[in-house]
């Protein structure tokens, strides 16, 4: 595997030509740098306590609730509305128009008038209108099967079947979590300077963690209504294993491509962390034991990860075999993590990424501060005085990968990304079989680079870009990206995003792993379900359990 020196001359980072390929991005695992993990550490560090400040629910679990907490010197509230929903209307797609529950993360403590205002808007989601007091909005659908089972079991004084809890993983799954000014909610800059909410997607992560808390309360409420005095609360270990689900489709992919600076920050932080632990010369006995304990946990987690998707199942089968056949690592030698990571290079890409994530886990003191560099920085100023020659040099250094694609081939540009007029759902079309390619979204980075290279042949070396772009404004987007990538080697996904064989699911898994998602459950090449915050401390456990929940495993069955 090739590598580059980057940011710190002593560190050898994996090459962007290796890291930024779709296959590897689509094999990503969550790490301790993932945003859900960072959020839990923020909650622990700040001694956060969650207060349920409203709970007006009928026996079926329909009504309103609010939760309030103080974080970083500010007060935030989760507002939740739970509604009856016909099965025929329960859809995870963007084009859905009703959900089991809707939520807002509110800046401060809401008055009843705020709830009344939001009760007429939040259940409509995109069709509603919001104010600067709402920082995030979201909605969720029940896992009807698991919610019913858990409520019924608790009502009868029993705990739910942990195998069913583990195989589904959540009582509700969110189908969108909107931030940064959407539909009139607060711009991110309103809170991005506040302690605890400065990281990428921090407000969204806080919202989702609180929604998980709400789902636990809701199922216990319904169980009490069903069972009366016979009902019991959820066992805390089972409750902790109930994360929050999420259904994610194509919308995430354009986000990744439209934010090259942000993606560089994420990947650069993770790759720097991997390089740092690779460079550790020796481990203490405690560190060795911890790594071996985490390796066993990872093996158990993978052994409990089953999905219907044939491709992912085949990959998991290989991964399980590789882990079973893995020689017991001798961590007492010098550079033990380098040796462990090097061993993984002869295994599958899934295994390589799992081992890299494993190696980060015990070394929070060394790497957690890297998360501070993962937030979005303002885009670099665009220098239109840069010459054609200088632009060619950057392309030669950072965009050689574009030249490997023969875009004359039919299949190489078969797909096109577009936005449907149906609730603006992002979709992927077949250029040769469907209408709409004239409204294509500019995710065809490799094709744009090739087009730019071709155009530049018509200009003298010392021509400023401003003159080129005045005559060819169609190249302005790629010209800006090329300039931004000059000192951001992880800014581009180094694959052809319009190729017939391209799988959007790879882009989704990359982004979701950075959120902290586990149990990727692809439903096609286009969308996936995942679980967030599985194993994360509950609201009352932050100080006692801490941040030790990487790749949670199934709890023991308590009395059925």
């Amino acid at each position: 595997m090739s590598s580059i020196s980057f940011s710190d001359g002593r560190l050898q980072l994996r090459s962007p030509d290796t890291v930024m390929r779709l296959e590897r991005l689509g094999s990503a695992f969550p790490t301790r740098l993932s945003f859900g993990r960072s959020m839990v550490r923020n909650l622990i560090a700040d001694g956060v306590e969650v207060r349920r400040t409203r709970w007006t629910m009928n026996d079926q679990g329909f009504g309103r609730a609010t939760y309030t907490l103080d974080l970083g010197g500010h007060t935030y509230s989760l507002i939740a509305f739970s509604n009856a929903l016909n099965d025929a209307d329960r859809s995870d797609r963007v084009i859905a128009e009703a959900w089991d529950a809707s939520f807002a993360l509110f800046d401060g403590i809401p008055e009843d008038s705020d709830l009344d205002r939001l009760e007429t808007n939040l259940p409509k989601q995109e069709a509603g209108r919001y104010s600067e007091k709402e920082l995030v909005i979201s909605r969720s659908n029940k896992s009807v099967r698991l919610f019913s089972h858990v409520a019924s079991a608790l009502a009868q004084g029993k705990q739910p079947d942990v195998d069913m809890v583990d195989s589904i993983g959540y009582l509700m799954r969110t189908t969108a979590v909107y931030g940064n000014g959407k539909f009139g909610i607060a711009d991110r800059f309103v809170f991005s300077g506040r302690p605890g909410l400065s990281g990428p997607f921090a407000a969204e992560m806080l919202t989702v963690w609180l929604i998980r808390h709400f789902t636990h309360d809701l199922v216990e409420h319904v169980a009490r209504a069903l069972g009366g005095e016979r009902a019991v609360p959820l066992d805390s270990a089972i409750k902790r294993h109930l994360g929050i689900g999420n259904s994610t489709g194509l919308g995430m992919a354009p986000f990744l491509i439209h934010h090259p600076e942000l993606i560089h920050n994420w990947l650069s932080a993770r790759e720097t962390a991997i390089a740092k632990v690779r460079a550790i010369e020796s481990l203490s006995d405690t560190q060795q034991s911890r790594l071996l304990e985490l390796l066993e946990r990872a093996k158990t987690h993978v052994s409990q990860w089953f999905v219907p998707d044939e491709i992912q199942t085949a990959r998991l089968d290989v991964l399980r075999d590789e882990l079973a056949d893995m020689p017991a690592p001798d961590l007492s030698v010098d550079y033990p993590l380098q040796r462990l990571i090097d061993w993984s290079l002869s295994q599958s890409v899934e295994c390589q990424e799992l081992i890299a994530a494993l190696c980060l886990e015990p070394f929070g003191e060394m790497i957690d501060a890297l998360t501070e560099a993962m937030a979005f920085n303002a885009p670099k100023a665009f220098d239109a005085s840069q010459t054609v020659s200088q632009t060619r040099t950057i392309i030669g250094q950072h965009y050689q990968w574009c030249e490997t694609f023969d875009l004359e081939q039919h299949e190489s540009q078969q797909k096109f990304w577009y936005v449907s007029e149906a609730k603006l759902e992002p979709r992927l079309g077949d250029r040769y079989a469907e209408d709409g390619a004239d409204k294509e979204q500019p995710l065809d980075i490799a094709r744009q680079v090739q087009g730019m290279v071709s155009t530049l042949t018509d200009y003298a070396d010392d021509t400023p870009l401003a003159d080129v772009l005045a005559q060819h404004p169609e190249h302005r987007n790629i010209a800006k990206r090329i300039q931004a990538a000059a000192d951001r080697p992880f800014a581009e996904v180094r694959d052809n995003l319009i190729d017939q064989s391209m799988r959007p699911i790879d882009l989704l898994r990359c982004k979701l792993a950075f959120f902290g998602a586990v149990k990727f459950d692809p439903k096609s090449d286009l969308w996936t379900r995942i679980t967030l915050f599985q194993g994360a401390p509950l609201a009352g456990e932050l100080q006692t359990l801490g941040d030790d929940w990487w790749l949670a495993t199934k709890p023991a069955q308590t009395a059925l």
Binding site: S91, D187, F189, K380, G429, E434, K439, A466, P473
Partner: protein
């Protein structure tokens, strides 16, 4: 009605793309519209849409060549020219909700944005993520 600056930026970007402006320039002028709209200053959507696409490209060229020549912002006209220069150089600005966007210009932006969406067909719907699945599991 007031708007977040990000929705002004994104809506204006889409509107300009719908009017046929290339994405890269549309993104710059979407950001310019948000800057102009910050606080109660001005209707940044109307201010940008008042220029046709050729004029916007010419504006970019004039501002970028002026900046490249080392001239100060005072060599540029107040309003959209100086705001564009500030945007291209990444200068910070006081950010607040957009309160001066008229209902007419917002509607105009939405109509133009609609031109970037692909009409719904059965094939398109079936090709979308999640097609054909039962979410009552």
């Amino acid at each position: 009605m007031n708007y977040s600056l990000n929705e002004v930026h994104m809506t204006l970007r889409k509107a300009l793309c719908g009017r046929g402006l290339a994405f890269g320039a549309a993104d710059d002028f979407g950001a310019v519209g948000a800057r102009l709209s910050s606080g109660a200053a001005c209707d940044g959507i109307a201010a940008v849409l008042a220029f046709d696409n050729s004029a916007l490209i010419a504006l970019l060229h004039r501002v970028e060549t002026t900046m490249a020549g080392g001239s100060s912002h005072t060599a540029l006209a107040a309003g959209i020219e100086q705001t564009l220069a500030a945007q291209l150089q990444g200068h910070p600005f006081p950010r607040d909700r957009a309160c001066a966007i008229s209902a007419e210009s917002w509607q105009q932006a939405l109509v133009l944005s609609h031109l970037t969406y692909v009409p719904e067909t059965e094939a398109s719907r079936l090709g979308g993520a999640g097609a054909g699945t039962n979410d009552n599991d």
